[in-house]
Amino acid sequence: MPYDILLLVKQVPDTANVTAEAMRDDGTVNRGALPAIFNPEDLNALETALEARDRYGGSITVLTMGPPKAADILRACLYRGVDRAILLTDRRAAASDTLATSYILAQAIKTIGHFDLVFAGRQAIDGDTAQVGPQCAEKLGVTQITYLEELVSLVDRTVRIRRDTGNGWEIVEAELPILATVTSTANRPRPEAVRKMLRFKKARGETELAAEVKAELRDASAEQRNEEVQRRLTTLGEAGLRIEQWDLDTIGADLARCGLSGSPTVVYRVQSIVLTKEGYTEIPATEDGARQLIHELVVDHTLG
């Protein structure tokens, strides 16, 4: 039987490879300067989804929430064979914590409609919380299976999954629908397929298209540009190259549950940690010395 598979992915700053260009003069990390990448474990989730579809049949819809440029990772999904791509982008969703994010994603999934399996990476490298998957599952009222290492079998409506338990593993059986989060040890994500890349590199969402049209038709009126955007969207749609773009209105979201107002947690303070190699300094073994050492670590940007 064909399965409706959903995939949740996120574009993240590459926190694992902080390069010299991403450092400010004061030694802190300029997050905006970090390259935006496909969250690594979401690639494992993508591979799990592709393998499941190839083995058991069905189709894959990928959903991401982020700024318009997050369309990059949706194209990366299309290059590997995903069937449908949806970009949820809305400034009102900015500053959402994990609870607000999971509310928005769950609303989007409800808008998509029917699903059998939802896959997501275990956690994103910018926050490392691993909370959005389980919180989405709760909001959808489905069984969650975290830390998937192997989709063992799928027979009719019954799935068997081997999951990492932190100090070993277990094989669990559940009835669909389920939401599973996938770990980095689950598989080796396949590379992008060249033929698909050639075909889908023109895939665009509306905001991206509008920016392109604006750059090309500088002298045109806003109305003319808009007409051109709509014309191109139709053409893309006919060619199967349209990245669907949704906002909070599309999914009927309660705005009080999105963004800052929907987020119970508040970042009260942030300290940067940055490192540079220095010479050996002797610190007096006193309270003042301790303060001096901490101060030194701040001054040389080991602590922020």
Partner: protein, 342 residues
Amino acid sequence: MIEVNRQGEVWVFAEQQDGTLQEVVLELCGKARELADRLGVTVGAVLPGTAREELPEQLIAHGVDHVYVVNDPRLEHYQTASYARILSVLIEKHAPQIVLYGATATGRDLAPRVASAMQAGLTADCTDLEIKDVTDRKTKTVHEKLLLQIRPAFGGNIIATIVNYDRWPQMATVREGVMPMLDPDPSRPGQIVEEEVALGPEFFPLKILQRHVEPRTVNLKGARVIVSGGGGVGSKDGFNRIHELAGALGGAVGASRAAVDNEYIDKGHQVGQTGTTVRPALYIAAGISGAVQHRAGMEESAKIIAINNDPDAPIFSVAHYGMVGDLHQLIPMLVKALRDRR
């Protein structure tokens, strides 16, 4: 979601596996005790599972006042739905102001499910917790005695302090091994409270077909900050100092071979030729003389601080900063200096 309240207990989720409490649970009991004393409230622990007398006793000896026991043979092995249901029902009933979970695979699976059901906040993988008055910068409202939830974020490039003003309980998962464990006091009084939570078959959607348990290892490789203790720490209790400093810095706990041989800490924490080779951004060696085998495992660290009472200890030869003196006096000073900055 529950209302902000000043009488609510500080709770710990008492995670057990095959009848044994996870070590982090006992670490959390000590921390919960400290937070509860600051707040003038009692400590509670939620223990789902099958009837075992020694577990509630162990929790009480480690600082818990009320152990909420939910006995049901179906709870022997963890699964999300039933455990989340139990936590949600008991939180609604007793309105704790703080709920702490170990940041184990299970804790990180359970806590977000509960947070979503309660529409409450949750901070992942905390390395330090404090109680402090906090002024909301936008509204200028002073929130008294909030839980500061301190955690590394952004790939370890920052330490973030998270608070939760009004959508309670304040919940956090806490990294294993960073909170010092208190010595158990078997004479401590405490109460076992039997709770009943109705659980239909829909709360057991998983069939566990096969289980395999492996011995645990500590994740030193991934740590950006490591605080290691050696033979100079002097005792197992003294090793709590190392945990304290690691917690304040959002780091992991390491050890030299001497500390492991003296059984101050288990072998999974050992840094060096026969242990793990590490190259964190910051490595603090306390009470470690710095035998070549140890240095080989850590000298590539970006920044090294050595604390030792022997000014001729070889560890100073690879250090960027050195403090000559008693680590039991110096570490509290460092922790205080760090906290004063917050």
